[in-house]
Symmetry: C2
DNA sequence: AAGAAGTGGGAACGCGCTTTCCCAGCCAGT
DNA sequence: ACTGGCTGGGAAAGCGCGTTCCCACTTCTT
């Protein structure tokens, strides 16, 4: 990757590199019109492209923002990524992508890599985990993030703070009211449903999943329903599918008994799992919502055409990404309270969306 | 973004920066064991993180690979991005993301930005367009790419070469046999379907769409069927939906006539459009495949649980991303024919996958 | 008309790192 | 014992740019 340099441009224009630099990027000092034109002309006759690395080195800031997701092909993360991308464009910065599969160790590496690249800020989108085996990883991740922040980096994490992180300067958390929304979903569901509830959750310790489970149980309790049983499996489509198979077996067993089969309403802690579970039920010959109702969480766009339409909680994924990114933007000036506030992200809120998949069978 | 520097580490370890540099990254020269240990210890006692920008500047190569997509939230691109990401990790590089919405002008800007950042290579995943209004944009994009290649950059574009690009050095195209596969889909569909075909395509001039349309027509012709009518709309879900509404109206009109309603098989040039079309039909009270069959293209993972299961052409999206990325990797040595070949990407092939959505109604 | 204030351009240093070149020791060879 | 080839470490020159400082020159003061 060689290319023409500022010095070459300057030489061609017959000026000093300093002058060339001043005209080719917004500097405080504006060289004279005629000279500026000469430089600009020289620049594009040479096809000059400024070296962002050198600029970054000199200015010590890179215009990069790092995004950490579990898996970019997961529509949940893809939607967030879109928001991040948009906000980044607003700020005229580029996004650096890292996918980690969810392990704190890999997340730590990603943070280190971003730090090495001197990314101005980092957005962490994956769910936090507090499982025992992630203990060490979390600690290391927290340490890495702290160091990054101490060096002036800004980080935003969606959902939960990184377990053990202590940095306060430049450390933002975009709160997602998973628990509250799950609670609302539970109560609304309960209003139209007399049968039992089962929760299909992710692995214990996955904070996002745990919040949704807890919120749902709370909601149930608030309306005087007994707590739902919780099935744990992977936080993705196949996890949902497996849980779905188990439930299908159970439903069929119950149905063959003589007592009236109790209707079951399944709450999967995210849409993708819900779809997996639904697929499993269907593969076992069960129909939704006739044989079991099912609800998800997230309201993934691509899944909205799914039939039966999935009851879920709409989360403004794109906004979440956008807000997280904006939160890491340079504050205008701490002096001006009003302007400073406008930079602070709006509060995230979701919306329970009941659809066909949980309509009580007539 | 300040942090401790190599010089500081060197000073703490009581060696010269040169030595510190040699031990902290793979250099040809390996300093003595004791010295190396001292340096390493100094490094992590200081929490040293090398400045990739400075490294890049000195080595003139950044370890960055730029990825250009239309929209990262589109599952098609997300899947490709996953492949790119994986390959990038293999090569210990990071991916820089740019989403352009499909316009050549924005793509050109993205290329320029990547060039500025001195990305080692660029992968362009979006479909090429040859519409008249994109003429100028394409030319500029081509020029920008040429310059990038001339400066030693490597680019891979999936599907079609950029219209007007002339660079040969370091310019790869990952061929996707859209036309052939669409043809095969047509013939296999025709084998089980006596009625008419309609194609729901993207805007004319979108090369990927055009290829699939053309291939489908060719396939039809090969088996002696008359060409399908082509409806054009946006290359996304809502485009499919709109086309679906039109078709629904047509189907219903035909049905109300006295002649037996001719069965219709709709081929949407990508899965997302197919889903949109299906949703439209359903919203008009039509059922699939009873009232109309429908097929897509891509076999998007998230859509596989869609009901009725969508007939489509499976494309190894992730591999496409992977191959494109690998194609831009530094060749080992042109001298060694065998090794050189192994770096060249495998050939992309797809697979016609017939499912429920096109089962002839009994 | 002489000095102050202002304007516009250049020289030079530094950002953090790699890499070439050089030099001081060390070994083996005659 | 003396020299030639190695080895391992340091000095220094960039990589491409931003920026501070400095200087020559113009324009407005009293």
């Amino acid at each position: 990757m060689a290319a023409s340099t500022l010095t070459e441009v300057a030489r061609l224009a017959g000026v000093s590199p300093a002058t060339a630099s001043r005209v080719l990027n917004g500097s405080a000092r504006k060289p004279g019109k005629d000279i500026a034109d000469r430089v600009r002309q020289a620049a594009d006759s040479l096809g000059y492209v400024p070296n962002a690395q050198a600029q970054g080195l000199a200015k010590s800031s890179s215009g990069l923002i790092g995004l950490i997701v579990h898996d970019i092909a997961d529509p949940y993360f893809a939607a967030i990524a879109r928001g991040v991308q948009e906000a980044a464009r607003e700020q005229r910065r580029m996004v650096l992508l890292a996918t980690t599969g969810g392990g704190p160790a890999e997340e730590k590496e990603a943070v280190a890599a971003f730090a090495a690249r001197r990314a101005d800020s980092i957005v962490i989108a994956g769910s936090r985990s507090c499982r025992d085996e992630d203990q060490d990883g979390n600690a290391e991740l927290a340490a890495e993030l702290d160091r990054y922040c101490r060096n002036g980096g800004r980080v935003a994490v969606v959902g939960h703070p990184v377990v053990g992180a202590t940095a306060s300067e430049g450390y933002h958390v975009v709160e997602v009211p998973n628990q509250e929304l799950a609670g609302r979903l539970a109560t609304e569901l309960a209003a139209g449903w007399d049968g039992d509830f089962v929760i299909v959750g992710g692995p214990e310790g996955l904070l996002t999943s745990d919040d949704r489970v807890r919120g749902f149980q709370d909601g149930l309790e608030r309306v005087g329903r007994r707590p739902a049983e919780v099935l744990r499996s992977a936080f993705n489509r196949s996890g949902g599918y497996e849980a779905g198979l188990q439930l299908a077996a159970r439903i069929k067993a119950a149905r063959s008994g003589e007592t009236a089969a109790p209707q079951l309403c399944i709450f999967a802690v995210n849409d993708v799992m819900a779809i997996g579970a639904a697929a499993a039920l269907r593969s076992e010959g069960l129909r939704i919502p006739r044989d079991a109702a099912i609800a998800g969480f997230d309201d993934i766009e691509t899944l909205r055409d799914f039939r039966p339409a999935l009851s879920t909680v709409r989360l403004p994924l794109e906004d979440i990404g956008r807000f997280a990114t904006r939160a890491t933007g340079r504050q205008p000036d701490t002096g001006n309270g009003e302007e400073g506030e406008s930079a602070s992200p709006g509060v995230i809120t979701g919306e329970v969306t009941l659809r066909r998949s949980t309509e009580a069978a007539a």
